[in-house]
Amino acid sequence: MTDKINLQEMEKKAQKLLNEDGMMELLMGAILFVSSTSFSGTAAFTPFLGLYVVFMRTIIEAYRKRVTYPRIGYLKLPDEEAKDVGLGILMFIGVIMLALIVFISLIYGQVTRVLVYRWIPTLVGLILFGGLYYNYERTGDKVNLVYIAIGLLSGLGFSLLDFTDPKLGPQLHLLFLSGVFIVAGIIRLRNFTKRYPVVSIDKRGIANE
């Protein structure tokens, strides 16, 4: 029991509860997997990225209706200004890309396609850092910090490794991250379903597990 009503903490708790269902990880894993194919030359799955963007809300809602709401109840959080968030993300990515190009030109004295490919994993790690830190601030869920560490360390590691094909580094890095997120998502989903069994309220108003 606590002797205070902390509205900020209440909001964070609600955000965290929604985050525990593993959906974010599974969705991230799928997006990173599809992104990795864009470096393979065939890019067979790349059009699916567009579909993700278009159907993102539908996918999230369908997942939550099936998995999340029957367990913890229905919960809709206040919508953040989607335009502001989108603009913030684009600006963040722009700044990171610019910084990376400046970094490459300072270290190597030139910016070539091969060098850009080499440092894409670090760029991906930094982009993930931005998104996941934002999520950590909103939810207080420390698992985001673990993902940030994995993203940054693996990004730097893959950038420092030498690959015969320059596209192989970013591709393998995205596949690695995709695997990490999908496994994490499955584990979180399993823990979520164990922790919160399906509850139904019958006609008498009695909750049944």
Partner: protein
Amino acid sequence: MSKPSDELPDVKSIDRLIHEPVRLLIMANLFVVETADFLYLMNQLDLTFGNLSSHMSKLEEAGYINVEKEFQDKKPVTRLSLTESGRAAFSDYRERMKHLFT
């Protein structure tokens, strides 16, 4: 000469409907979300359906909450949200409580 009642703190203006502990927690939980259903509030507040239901009726009568009943996969779902006047009343209550103690 001032009357003794002039020196008393203005506690009478506190909204008694919100002041009740369970209703205060219901209002606080609904204040931080846009919409929530019965199951969510029952879980968060550790209340029974009947208990929550009776408090909900009082808050709905006062026009503080909006109750929407619908069927989802043939199951009844009750979704609750604060009305504009509910939000205003809760914010006002918070301000009054802040100023009440020095």
